[in-house]
């Protein structure tokens, strides 16, 4: 996957944007603990860019194999669908891990000039978690899609919905519903929307749950407990396993129909 020109361009773009934003924020703001505009900007950048790249590249990778007949050819080899999907997953993970490591190294390097480390461990962990979850989802989308174009369209629709549209819809519902109704809808959204799940994870790991406000006191109290963190880890793993499992299942069904 690292050989792909598309992947190399994406890596270049990502490293450039991430390093630029981090450097500008480092120079403009003092280094402080907590949820600041600096950490928010970096978090949003990861939440916008990583899922977009992962979903499009990952889904088109499988859809392309199906569309071109490459997958049918592969099936004539002694390889199971499970091995095929996990191979794709591993390739996607490694490519993005290298890309992330590269961008973090550049940020740490530029941080040396402004006297700051430039990046927190929570942020690093969360970035890798984004890759782990969205790479699995990307492969599921690829398995569902009928063609590369279909995979691209599905990826973009889901990306926009998870990052923007669902939030806007909930904000709109909040204008005419009671606060406690919106609060419950938001909690549901956290559990069904991987982007929100990961954003929430950032607050949990950085012990900044208070950012979400007093309306979420009980909810954040549960998840910030050791048992809650264990549940968070289990649900994160479930996102990955279910996505990959369904991808294998769908590809298997498609094969039988053919």
């Amino acid at each position: 996957m690292l050989r792909s020109r598309w992947m190399q361009l994406v890596a270049l773009l990502f490293v450039f944007v991430f390093a630029s934003v981090s450097l500008i924020q480092q120079m403009a703001l003092p280094e402080v603990e907590g949820f600041t505009r600096q950490s928010a900007a970096a978090l949003n950048l990861q939440l916008f860019l990583l899922p977009l790249f992962l979903l499009t590249i990952g889904s088109m990778s499988i859809a392309g194999d199906v569309e071109s007949g490459w997958l049918s050819l592969l099936k004539t080899y002694p390889i199971t669908l499970r091995q095929y999907v996990f191979g794709k997953y591993a390739a996607l993970l490694l490519s993005f891990f290298v890309m992330l490591a590269l961008s973090f190294s550049v940020v740490i390097g530029t941080g040396a000039f402004v006297g700051q480390l430039g990046i927190s461990w929570v942020f690093v962990v969360l970035s890798f978690l984004i890759v782990l979850i969205f790479a699995a989802i990307a492969l599921l989308i690829g398995a569902i899609a009928k063609s590369r174009l279909h995979a691209l369209a599905l990826s973009l629709v889901l990306w926009a919905s998870w990052l923007l549209l669902l939030s806007y819809a909930l904000m709109a519902i909040g204008t005419f519903s009671a606060g406690h109704v919106l609060q419950k809808l938001l909690i549901v959204n956290i559990h069904i929307n991987p982007a929100e799940w990961l954003r929430f994870g950032y607050f949990l790991l950085s012990k900044q749950e208070a950012v979400l406000g007093p309306a979420f006191y009980s909810f954040t109290n549960f998840y910030s407990s050791p048992f809650g963190l264990f549940v968070y880890a289990c649900l994160s793993v479930l996102w990955i396993i279910l996505s990959l499992g369904f991808a294998v299942f769908i590809l298997d069904r498609k094969g039988r129909v053919e």
Binding site: L2, R3, A28, L29, P30, V32, E33, G34, F35, T36, R37, Q38, A40, N44, L47, F48, V98, A101, L102, S105, V106, I108, G109, G111, A112, F113, V114, G115, L117, L163, L164, S167, Y168, M171, G174, G179, H180, L182, Q183, L186, A195, R199, Q208, A210, V211, L212, G213, P214, A215, F216, Y217
Partner: protein, 430 residues
């Protein structure tokens, strides 16, 4: 025998015997002293509680520790005047209401200096006191929930109170003042408590050069008039409902030259009128300033807002903002007079929603909200409240230290980058 002597010697070095001074009955000494006498207490550990009902100076000579019984205040001062307590350590027992350091009632002209209080539910409590001078106290509360702790210093129905250079931590409220006139708090430090300062029904108060850190709220000032809050450093109040400073129902309040950094809300003004907020720095707070029912004759001017997620927000009444510096102002200064040519609007759709419905705080700086705020600024949906007609173009107090290049970090990062590029190329060539 020799071995026993050596062991005994080592034991004496590592576990020195504490000199107890129980043979000296402090209460008896106080009772026997003449009015106005200075009583020098020799170093040692004494049993409390003790009661003072006459003019006297109690001065510790060396390391003087008075232990409480956990039921009564370690030192009680009642119905007297001209008392001085200096250079003592008061050590409390248990966690009951009686486990307090010093309790004063109906007193006048009292000075307490260099007194350390440890393991106490509450430090100093005064009722109906006049002319209190407290300085260089250190109060350490208990490790328990706020509801099980008392206050560091609590003063009721008193006047002419001055408190200097006192350090308080792990209590409910650092300073709790109710119905006090002419209060001065200077150079104090309160941390890890519920409120740093909590004052109610106070007239003519001045809090200056204090530091508040990691409390639920730094300063909670309620139903208070004629107050000066200047040169305080208030930071890291990041709990749920945490704020640097909350002012509720007050008049003629001057908030000047304070630094409010990394708080959930920097300054919250609620029903405040005829007051001024000027020359303060609001940095990296989630919300810099919140104005609720505080539009009437309260002016926010010449302040600096930088790195806050939301600079200002208000209810529909808004507030008067004038000549502040805002780091998200996007206007130009063609006249080069240091003032932006176009007004600054602090109103963001999202910021207003947060005031009206707190559950919206969930979306703070979420990707969708960032885009919404950008649309706000592009479409110039400014509204009619929180408009600064003359925003400043630059900060006046910004002091950026000259940073040294960290060569080790730079070389490490460069090696990592080169290694990763090498790995990429190698994989690509295979």
């Amino acid at each position: 025998m020799k071995r026993i002597m050596v062991l005994g010697f080592l034991f004496a070095i590592f576990f020195p015997f504490e000199a107890r001074a129980d043979e000296l009955d402090l209460q008896k000494l106080i009772n026997q002293s003449l009015s106005g006498e200075e009583l020098q207490i020799p170093a040692g550990v004494y049993s409390g509680p003790i009661t003072i009902q006459k003019e006297i100076s109690l001065v510790g000579n060396g390391d003087v520790i008075i232990e409480g019984d956990g039921e009564k205040p370690i030192i009680s001062v009642t119905e007297t005047e001209n008392v001085k307590i200096q250079s003592l350590t008061l050590h409390g027992q248990g966690n009951g209401d009686g486990n307090s350091g010093i309790h004063m009632k109906d007193v006048k002209n009292i000075a307490i200096e260099e007194v350390k209080m440890t393991n106490v539910t509450s430090g100093v409590k005064a009722e109906r006191a006049r002319k209190l001078y407290l300085s260089n106290l250190t109060i350490t509360g208990l490790s328990a929930h706020f509801s099980e702790k008392g206050n560091g210093l609590s003063i009721y129905d008193s006047d002419q109170i001055e408190i200097y250079n006192t350090t308080i931590h792990d209590v409910q409220d650092g300073f709790y003042m109710e119905r006090v006139e002419q209060l001065k708090l200077v150079g104090n430090h309160v941390s890890s408590s519920r409120y740093g300062i909590h004052i109610m029904y106070v007239d003519y108060a001045r809090a200056s050069d204090n530091e508040f850190q990691e409390n639920v709220t730094g300063m909670m000032i309620m139903m208070t008039n004629n107050t000066d809050i200047v040169h305080n450093f208030i930071y890291d109040h990041q709990e749920l409902n945490g704020s640097g400073m909350i002012l509720f129902e007050g008049k003629h309040i001057n908030i000047e030259n304070n630094e409010l950094v990394s708080n959930t809300v920097g300054l919250s003004l609620q029903s405040i009128s005829d007051s001024i907020v000027k020359n303060n720095q609001f940095r990296t707070n989630q919300t810099g300033v919140t104005l609720v029912k505080s539009a009437k004759e309260t002016k926010v001017t010449n302040n600096e807002f930088s790195g806050n997620i939301v600079n200002l927000r208000s209810d529909e009444n808004g507030g008067i903002i004038h000549r502040n510096y805002y780091d998200d102002y996007q206007g130009l200064d063609m006249e080069e007079d240091g003032i932006g040519d176009t007004p600054y609007s602090a109103v963001q759709s999202f910021g207003q929603w947060m005031v009206r419905k707190p559950v919206y705080q969930y979306f703070v700086e979420a990707p969708a909200v960032v885009l919404l705020n950008e649309l706000d600024s592009q479409t110039k949906q400014t509204g009619t409240v929180l408009i600064d007609e003359e925003p400043k173009m630059s900060m006046t107090t910004q002091k950026r230290e000259d940073k040294q290049i960290n060569f080790a970090q730079l070389i490490g990062a460069l090696l990592l980058v080169l290694g990763l590029i090498g790995l990429w190329r190698k994989e690509a060539l295979i």
